[in-house]
C-alpha cells in the first residue's frame, strides 16, 4: 500500500456523514421512493396514534415531493439536553426519535429514529413547515445542513396543527432521481387501506392527476378491488381483527380457485414487508391448522393424503396488517419481520377465527377444503414420480437414522444432531412426517485431506452418505433423499467444531449439495429467560440483552431467571421443537458458496495437516475476535 495507514486515517463519521457515505445501508438507492415512504410513514404513524386524519402528497414538476399531515406537528421547543429545537434534532441526528419508548406512539413503523434524517441527508434541499400551538414555523435545510433557522412565519388557529415536509432528492445518490409514480400510488393506497378512516390524497403536477383514497372498511374492499376479474372463493373475503395489549392484527383472505394473480401483502405497522416474515408464517400455519381441523371433523380427507401448509397456501390471496409495539425488522429497509413472538400470536388468532368461520359457512368451507385437498393430491402425484430410495432398495439405511414418512424430497429435512442425548430429544421434537434425525456420535473424522475413495471407511461418514443418498465425490444429486440437510450442533465450542468438520466434509466430498443450497445450519438458542410464567429464548448475547431490556422496560413482575443451554440435551423436546425444529419459529441458515471465492483456501488453512504455522498466524491475527464460551 502506498499511502500511510496510521491512527490518523481512521475516520469516525459523525452527524449525517455515514448516510451520505453509505446511502445503501439506510435506503434503497435505485429511486428516491423509499425516502418518500419514510416521510409518509412518519405522517401515517401520527394517524395510527389517532392524531391525524389526512395525509396529502404532492409531486411537483421540479421533481420534489411534499407530504403534509394534520397531526400534532413536530416539537419545536428546545430539547433539554441537546440545546437545539426538536425539529432540528429529528432532522439532523441519526437515532433521534420519539418512537423508542411506547409513551407517545403505541404502534409505529419507525423505530430506529433514522428515517427522516436519512431523507434530509440525501436531499438537495428540504423545507419543513410546522403548525403547532397556534403558530406556524418554518425551517429549511440544504444537503442535510441547516440553511434557515427555525422561525415563526405566521399564526394559525389553535386547532390547526400539522407538519409539511417538502424535499428535493439529490440525484447523485440515486440511480434515477425520479419517483416512480405507480409505486408511490401503490404505497399511498395501501396506507389508506390499512388505516381505515384516513384520507390520503395524491397530486401529480406533471400529469395533473389527482386521486383521493379513503376506505372505511379497509382491507376487504381493497382486496376485492385488486382481484377484480378473477373468480374468488369465498365471495366475501374472510376478514377479522384482533387487538391485544402489545399486538394487533387485521386480515382479509380469499382463495382464487381458477388461478390468477394473487395478492399477498403483509404489513407491519403499515410498513409493507415484501419478503414476508413471522407474521405471514403465522397466518399460514393458522389457516392450515383450521382447514386441517375442519377436514378432520367432517372426514373430508381421503386416505393417505395429508394437507400441508403449501396446499392451503397455494392459491390464497391475502392482506395482512399487524401492529406490534416493538417490531424487529431485518435492516432499515424493513422488508422482513423478524419478531419471533408474532408467529404464535397471529397463528393462534387466525386459527380460532377461521375455525369459527368455517363452521359457520360449511358450504364455502367445504369448497376451500376441496381446493386444499386437490392441491395435496396433485402435489403427491408429482412427488411420486421421483421415488425415494426405500429401505428395501440399495444399501440399508443406517440403523441410527430416524427416517421421516414423507417421500416428497422437496419438503423433507435431515437433521444431523450432535450426540445421542440431543438426538433423543430431537427425535421426540421433530415433525415425523418430514423431518428425519440422525444422531452423530462424537466428532467425525477430519475428511479434508482424505481421498474420496477412502472416506467411506469412516462409519459416520458412511452413514451420512447413505442417509443423504449421495455418494461422495459424485455430482449426481438424483438419489438425494432430503431437500434440506441441516447441521444441528450444540451452541458451544465443541458444537462449533463439529459444524466445522461437517462443513468441510460437505464442501470436499459433497460439493454439489452445497452448490445447490441443500446444506443448512440450525441455530439453537443460547439462552432461555424466564419471567414469572413467560418464557423467552435468545439466540445470542445481544438478543438476550434485548430481551432483558424489554423486561425491565415493561416492568414485568416476577423473578428473572436466565438459563444458558450448554447442550441440546438440556432442552425438553417441547422447547427444542419451539426453538429449532418448528419451521415457523426456528432460525435456519443456508450455507452458500460462490465460484471463485476463497472458501477452499480458508478451510484448507484451518484443517490441513501441514499448515499449523498458518493457523498460528491466523489465531494471532483474529484470536481476539472469538466469542469464547467457557
Amino acid at each position: 500500500m502506498a499511502s500511510k495507514y496510521d491512527a490518523a486515517s481512521i475516520e469516525v463519521l459523525t452527524g449525517l456523514e455515514p448516510v451520505r457515505k453509505r446511502p445503501g445501508m439506510y435506503t434503497q438507492t435505485e429511486r428516491p421512493n423509499h425516502l418518500a415512504q419514510e416521510v409518509i410513514d412518519n405522517s401515517v404513524d401520527e394517524a395510527i396514534a389517532g392524531h391525524a386524519s389526512r395525509v396529502d402528497v404532492i409531486l411537483y414538476k421540479d421533481g420534489s415531493l411534499s407530504v403534509s399531515d394534520d397531526g400534532r406537528g413536530m416539537p419545536v421547543d428546545i430539547h433539554p439536553e441537546e440545546g437545539i429545537s426538536g425539529v432540528e434534532l429529528i432532522m439532523t441526528r441519526l437515532h433521534a426519535g420519539g418512537k423508542f419508548s411506547n409513551k407517545n406512539y403505541q404502534f409505529s413503523g419507525g423505530l430506529h429514529g433514522v428515517g427522516v434524517s436519512v431523507v434530509n441527508a440525501l436531499s438537495k434541499q428540504l423545507d419543513v413547515w410546522i403548525k403547532r400551538d397556534g403558530k406556524e414555523y418554518n425551517m429549511s435545510f440544504s444537503g442535510g445542513d441547516k440553511k434557515v433557522e427555525l422561525e415563526e412565519v405566521g399564526t394559525v388557529g389553535k386547532r390547526n396543527t400539522g407538519t409539511t415536509i417538502r424535499f428535493w432528492p439529490d440525484p447523485k445518490y440515486f440511480d434515477s432521481p425520479k419517483f416512480s409514480v405507480t409505486r408511490l400510488k401503490h404505497v399511498l393506497r395501501a396506507k389508506a387501506v390499512l388505516c381505515s378512516g384516513l384520507t390520503v390524497t395524491f397530486q401529480d403536477e406533471k400529469s395533473g392527476e389527482e386521486i383521493q383514497w379513503c376506505y372505511e372498511d379497509g382491507l376487504s374492499s381493497y382486496l376485492l378491488d385488486e382481484l377484480k376479474g378473477f373468480e374468488i372463493l369465498p365471495p366475501e373475503p374472510f376478514i377479522g381483527s384482533m387487538k391485544g395489549n402489545e399486538e394487533a392484527v387485521d386480515w382479509a383472505v380469499v382463495w382464487l380457485p381458477e388461478g390468477g394473480e394473487p395478492v399477498t401483502e403483509g404489513y407491519v405497522n403499515l410498513i409493507p414487508t415484501p419478503q414476508g416474515g413471522t407474521h405471514v408464517n403465522g397466518l399460514r400455519s393458522g389457516l392450515t391448522e383450521a382447514v386441517r381441523e375442519f377436514c378432520e371433523f367432517r372426514n373430508l380427507v381421503p386416505r393417505g393424503i395429508k394437507i400441508t401448509p403449501d396446499d392451503v397456501w397455494e392459491k390464497v390471496s391475502f392482506v395482512l396488517s399487524v401492529k406490534l409495539s416493538d417490531p424487529q425488522f431485518s435492516g432499515q429497509t424493513k422488508e422482513r419481520l423478524g419478531s419471533r413472538e408474532c408467529a404464535p400470536f397471529v397463528s393462534g388468532v387466525t386459527k380460532d377465527a377461521f375455525s369459527l368461520w368455517l363452521s359457520q359457512h360449511v358450504d364455502l368451507g367445504e369448497k376451500i377444503a376441496e381446493l386444499a385437498i386437490a392441491n395435496a393430491q396433485s402435489r403427491q402425484r408429482a412427488g411420486k414420480k421421483i421415488e425415494r430410495k426405500k429401505i428395501t432398495q440399495g444399501p440399508a439405511l443406517p440403523g441410527k437414522l430416524a427416517d421421516c414418512t414423507s417421500q416428497d424430497s422437496s419438503r423433507t429435512e435431515l437433521f444431523l444432531v450432535e450426540g445421542d442425548s440431543a438426538g433423543g430429544s430431537a427425535k421426540q421434537a421433530r415433525d415425523k412426517e418430514f423431518q428425519a434425525i440422525m444422531p452423530l456420535r462424537g466428532k467425525i473424522l477430519n475428511t479434508w485431506e482424505v481421498d474420496p475413495l477412502q472416506v467411506l471407511s469412516s462409519q459416520e461418514v458412511h452413514d451420512i452418505s447413505v442417509a443423504v443418498g449421495v455418494d461422495p465425490g459424485s455430482s449426481d444429486l438424483k438419489g438425494l433423499r432430503y431437500g434440506k440437510v441441516c447441521v444441528l450442533a450444540d451452541a458451544d465450542s465443541d458444537g462449533a467444531h463439529i459444524a466445522t468438520l461437517l462443513c468441510a466434509l460437505f464442501l470436499r466430498h459433497f460439493k454439489p449439495l452445497v452448490e445447490h443450497g441443500h446444506v443448512f445450519i440450525a441455530m439453537p438458542p443460547l439462552y432461555r429467560v424466564d419471567v414469572g410464567k413467560e418464557v423467552y429464548y435468545a439466540l445470542d448475547e445481544a438478543e438476550k440483552q434485548g430481551v432483558l431490556d424489554r423486561i425491565t422496560a415493561e416492568n414485568k413482575k416476577g423473578k428473572v431467571n436466565v438459563q444458558r443451554f450448554k447442550g441440546l440435551g438440556e432442552m425438553n423436546p417441547l422447547q427444542l421443537r419451539e426453538t429449532t425444529l418448528a419451521p415457523d419459529t426456528r432460525r435456519l441458515v443456508q450455507l452458500t458458496i460462490e465460484a471463485g471465492d476463497n472458501t477452499s483456501q480458508i478451510i484448507d488453512m484451518m484443517l490441513a495437516k501441514k499448515r499449523a504455522a498458518d493457523r498460528k498466524k491466523w489465531l494471532e491475527q483474529k484470536g481476539d475476535k472469538a466469542e469464547v464460551v467457557a
Binding site: S493, T500, I521, R564, K566, E594, A626, V628, A630
Partner: protein, 197 residues
C-alpha cells in the same frame, strides 16, 4: 452475522466460509485457552485443576480414607466441568499413574492401569481415590486469599482460576497438549533440583 440475507420461509443465507471460519475460530480459542494447554502458574489444565479442587472440597486429603472415583468424577462434572464423564475420569486416572506422572497428584486404590497398557484401568465404579501428599503443594495456601475465584459454568458456585503452587509445578510433572495451531510439551524434572534451583 453481518451479511445474512433473508428469503421467504424465514431462511437466512450465509457464505459457508464465513460460518466455518467463525465457528472454527471460536473452537480454536476455546481449546487454546480452556482445554489443552496448562496455565503456567500452577501447570494444570482446567480439568485437572477442577479435579484437584473438587477432591479437596470432598475432604479427600492424603490422610483420609479413599472414596469411590465415581463420586469425585460426579462432583467435578456436576459442579465445575460440564463435559463427558469418561474424559474426566481418564484425566484423573492419568494423574494417579506413577508411570505417567513424575509426582502423582492422586493416590489411587484399585486397578489404575499398568505401564504396558495404561488404558487398562478399571471402571470408575470400582476404583477409589484420594489426593496424594504431593498435591498439598498446590492446595496448601488456597484458603489464605491467594487466588482469584471465578464463577462456575452456571454461576451458582465458584472455583479457583489457578491453584497457589509453592513450587513451579509446571516443571515438576511436565505436560503435553495439542490445541489448534499450537501445542505444548514440557518434560518432568526432579523436585530437589528444581527446589534448589
Amino acid at each position: 452475522m453481518s451479511d445474512t440475507e433473508m428469503n421467504y420461509e424465514g431462511i437466512e443465507q450465509l457464505p459457508l466460509k464465513e460460518f466455518t471460519e467463525k465457528a472454527y475460530l471460536n473452537y480454536s480459542m476455546y481449546v487454546i485457552l480452556d482445554r489443552a494447554l496448562p496455565f503456567i502458574g500452577d501447570g494444570l489444565k482446567p480439568v485437572q485443576r477442577r479435579i484437584i479442587y473438587a477432591m479437596s472440597e470432598l475432604g479427600l486429603s492424603a490422610v483420609s480414607k479413599h472414596k469411590k472415583s465415581a463420586r469425585t468424577v460426579g462432583d467435578v462434572i456436576g459442579k465445575f466441568h460440564p463435559h463427558g464423564d469418561s474424559a474426566c475420569y481418564e484425566a484423573m486416572v492419568l494423574m494417579a499413574q506413577p508411570f505417567s506422572y513424575r509426582y502423582p497428584l492422586v493416590d489411587g486404590q484399585g486397578n489404575f492401569g499398568s505401564p504396558d497398557d495404561p488404558k487398562s484401568f478399571a471402571a470408575m465404579r470400582y476404583t477409589e481415590s484420594r489426593l496424594s501428599r504431593f498435591a498439598q503443594i498446590l492446595l496448601g495456601e488456597i484458603d489464605q486469599g491467594t487466588v482469584d475465584w471465578v464463577p462456575n459454568f452456571d454461576g451458582t458456585l465458584s472455583e479457583p482460576s489457578m491453584l497457589p503452587a509453592r513450587l513451579p509445578h509446571v516443571l515438576l510433572n511436565g505436560t503435553t497438549g495439542f490445541a489448534v495451531g499450537m501445542a505444548t510439551y514440557i518434560p518432568p524434572q526432579n523436585i530437589r533440583e528444581v527446589t534448589s534451583a
